[in-house]
């Protein structure tokens, strides 16, 4: 047992701690120290650091607040009111988080792009509507697309918390004569507040670390964030500056998350009774249908419209223009010198097919690696008695949640671009993508592992121990079958997280290990809009399909649905 814990601890050190240490260490070399000075205290600082940091924080705050408001309101409607169409709203509201954030950003561009930066314009402008610059480019669309992406996460968290609110408390309140508003403010809100705060913090952290949205909708008008600046620095070979910016980005995201957790996570309520019956839903009266309409409109626009926009625009001859006619070239067409520099349609393009294979393989490999590690972490935390070691494992397995994908990618390059002890250099290999993916999804996988292992009674293991079973045998014969179902769902979600990821893989990928999301991003920045949109549609389809499968496996993910 102790050996297992030590092994898991060592793996986590290698996976999480070592890249971070290395990242910081590189910035402390002479070149690194010069980069610190250039980034933080030179004439470049204003544009390299301060303005991007202000933009980054503004995005984080706006996304955290916006996603929380929207997601909580929808959760309240679905869980606590008698709004019609609750089930449909609930299903639709959980879709946007499955979409890759670059899909939403590309869809926004396909719809709202205007003439500000020249070239083709989006659907609305082509229909004769003048799209102002502030809607097409910069902070407003970046924040809007990220809210679209993350309100769905808030919705899931808050809806689960609301569903768990004990109806007896509300009834007791109602019997003492409290109004609806007072029940809400006095009982429901305090009970779900931890979930709301957690959701807001996640929205904030994701807003701070997102790369795709500012890269697609901000860079053309020179709107920079820390993540776009660090990507820019590393991709033009100013590695040390990039690492310095990574350290700063990690520090900003991590510090605010920690402070937020301290401030918001303290209060908890011991609810003495068992789970009671569901309190009668709030009657919306004449607001029922308007609320339903508004909720469905929001969900339709955020869950369905992006996918449809992308799919439709991938069939357009001229980007954004229905007038130019329709074509299947970008999907099926053979290479023709007439179109797109001879690039064939994506289903005929060997590089895209190669990328599709690598992407699926990577998703599967990371899913396996992360779930195995997650179960091991969960097992150690539940069974190991070496307290400092379990503490270390718990901390390290949670740490990556503080690390923006693009910064984690930079850390992995710093660590694995050279031989490390007995390990060969991993840069440019499939292995580094798997290792980085496993580290990135570790918090999620180990959370699932913890929950799954916690459900396995120690009685069973003790019984087998008495019968003389060794640890590996106990693990295979008892723990593994019992956690399999829960972990299968977790594996599917890890798979999706990797398949749709852009920020982590962008720096790690090399042309010999192409990935769909990165290829799509390349196409988008090269102006091959239809190819980008077609590939993104494929990624969306894979993500939605696999998530749907996972939900079937794990029916309990939406407990608020059971009561309808």
């Amino acid at each position: 047992m102790a050996l297992l814990s030590a092994g898991v601890g060592a793996i986590l050190c290698l996976l999480v701690l070592a890249p971070l240490v290395r990242l910081v260490a590189v910035t402390l070399t002479p070149d690194g120290l010069r980069a610190w000075q250039e980034v933080a205290a030179s004439e470049l600082s204003r544009n390299l650091l301060w303005r991007p940091i202000v933009n980054t924080l503004a995005i984080g705050l706006a996304v955290g607040a916006g996603a929380t408001l929207l997601g909580s309101a929808l959760a309240w409607l679905v869980v606590l009111t008698d709004v019609p169409g609750r089930r449909l709203i609930g299903v639709l509201a959980s879709v946007p988080f499955i979409l890759p954030s670059f899909a939403v950003a590309l869809a926004w561009e396909a719809a709202f792009r205007n003439g500000r930066v020249g070239g083709h314009v989006g659907l609305l402008q082509n229909l004769g509507l003048a799209v102002p610059d502030w809607i097409a480019w910069g902070i407003v669309p970046v924040v809007a697309t990220l809210i679209v992406h993350y309100y769905s996460l808030t919705f899931a968290l808050v809806a689960a918390a609301l569903a768990a609110v004990n109806a007896d408390l509300l009834e007791a309140g109602a019997m003492t004569g409290a109004s609806q508003a007072r029940l809400m403010g006095g009982i429901t809100l305090p009970l779900v507040l931890p979930a709301v705060v957690a959701a807001a913090l996640l929205g904030f952290a994701e807003g701070v670390s997102n790369f795709a949205a500012p890269a697609i909708l901000g860079l053309p008008v020179r709107f920079h964030t820390l993540s776009t600046r660090l990507f820019g620095a590393i991709s033009i070979g100013q590695v040390e500056r990039g690492y310095v910016l990574s350290v700063i980005l990690i520090a900003v995201a991590g510090a605010l998350l920690l402070v937020g957790t301290r401030l918001g996570g303290r209060r908890s309520f011991a609810v003495i009774t068992g789970k009671g019956s569901r309190y009668a839903r709030v009657r919306l009266g004449r607001w029922r249908w308007p609320a339903c309409g508004a909720a469905l409109a929001i969900c339709g626009l955020t869950a369905v419209a992006p996918g449809v926009t992308l799919l439709a625009s991938s069939f357009l001859h001229q980007p954004g223009a229905f007038a130019g006619g329709w074509t299947t070239h970008y999907w099926l067409g053979p290479s023709s010198p007439e179109i797109a520099q001879g690039q064939p349609g994506i289903l005929r393009n060997p590089q895209v097919l190669h990328a599709a294979g690598t992407t699926l393989g990577l998703g599967a490999a990371v899913a396996v690696a992360a779930t195995v590690l997650g179960v091991a972490v969960g097992y150690c935390l539940a069974r190991s008695r070496v307290r400092w070691l379990t503490g270390l494992i718990a901390q390290l397995s949670y740490l990556p949640i503080l690390l923006p994908g693009i910064a984690l990618g930079a850390a992995f390059i710093a660590q694995f671009a050279r031989p490390l002890g007995p390990l060969p250099p991993l840069y440019g290999t499939f292995a580094i993508l798997v290792v980085a993916g496993a580290a990135y999804t570790l918090p999620f996988a180990s959370q699932a592992g913890r929950a799954a292992v916690a459900q396995v009674s120690t009685d069973l293991e003790e019984a087998s121990l008495m019968a003389g079973a060794t640890l590996p045998r106990r693990f295979v014969a008892i723990v593994a079958p019992l956690v399999a179902r829960g972990m299968l769902a977790a594996a599917a979600l890890v798979f999706v997280k990797i398949v749709r990821d852009l920020s982590l893989m962008l720096l790690l990928m090399t042309p010999t290990t192409p990935l769909l999301s990165v290829v799509a991003f390349r196409y988008a920045s090269e102006g091959f809009v239809q190819f980008a949109n077609a590939i993104t549609t494929v990624v969306v389809a894979i993500s939605v399909g696999v998530t749907w499968l996972a939900r079937r496996l794990q029916r309990s993910t939406q407990p608020w649905m059971d009561h309808d």
């Binding site: 701690l17 070149d31 930066v117 070239g119 033009i236 520099q341 070496v386 050279r418 440019g428």
Partner: protein
Amino acid sequence: MTDVRRLCRVVCGRWAWVVVALVVAVAAPLGHHAPRAGAQSRPTDSLDRMDRQALVAAARAEGSVVVYSFTSRIAAVERAFEAAYPGIDMVGFDISSTEQIARIRAEQQAGIFRVDVAYISDAPVVFGELVRRGLLEPYVPPDFANRIPAQYQRPLLANRISTKVLMYNEDANPTGPPVHNLWELTTPRWRGKVITVDPLVRGDYLDLMTEIVLRSDEMERAYRLLFGRPLVLGPGIKTAGEQWIRDLYANGLIVLKSTDAVNAAIGARGQVAPPVGFSTYSDRRDNARRGWALQIANAVVPSPGITFPALLGLVRRAPHPAAARLAITFMLGDDSPTGGPGYEPFYVPGDYATRRDIVPHPDAVPFAQLRAWRIDPVRSFERRQQVADFILRLQ
């Protein structure tokens, strides 16, 4: 095992990584992997002298060749190459020069040898870093040695000269270029109407900006010609070139990520007041297919931009050394006047072959009349980081 020993093991294990990481970080700062020449030099020497027939046979045995290319035309080269040499698979990757440099550096440092040929521009960094450190090696096919001027053979072979020049929309400006002097681009008439690829993302555009700074005397004269008074430099600005760059940014310069995006913005037909901007002259070849009307503003004072070589280098320790050489040979073209299928993707108006025996393209400004500055890679290399940091302050 006692608890104490276990604890020691774990702690040591944990700190060992930290220590190793620190030692590695401090002792071996990034870069400076000495090329291992000795063992490799003998077989490649004989490959360098090998005639075409023997090279093809050796390449067939290797079976494939991997090319990083700064132009998307590699897709067409790939098709032609595989048609000419069935059984040898060309795997082409369209990667910007800047990214190629970062990747080749990282891959070589990591000891990953997967790429054979780099088709790359950005000569200042390529010469100043990759070739100097031995990461890219020259190869001149023996049968072309006397058909290409020496200046295009060393330190790396170039198969053509490319451009980054001021382009305009000839559909919207039927009487000729709407700009006659680069300084006009800093005036209100062109506010928000000038486009370029981000010089901090693509080295070729940084080379253009660097050249403008290096040509500050000519920029100063051009200023006087347009405004009739000497240029007064702003605070903190040291040269006329920097002043122009600063004024251009202050005038709402639009900075995009790729040349294609710039072309579409400038060139799309049917625009009422299209922007002008810096792009590749030879992208004019796509006018008919993509509905563009790109044309070079060759007469603009003091110069429309720069010309620079498109370089073909062997990547150090290429896994397919013979096929790599065959690919380079193929991209120089055959003995027909226009270079045949291997050179066909580059036989377009606005690209200038380095081979003396390829006839100039009829639809382009002859090379001698092209007013673009020819960059000096060595001088550019010395200055470009400073120009890059100057631009970073502006955007």
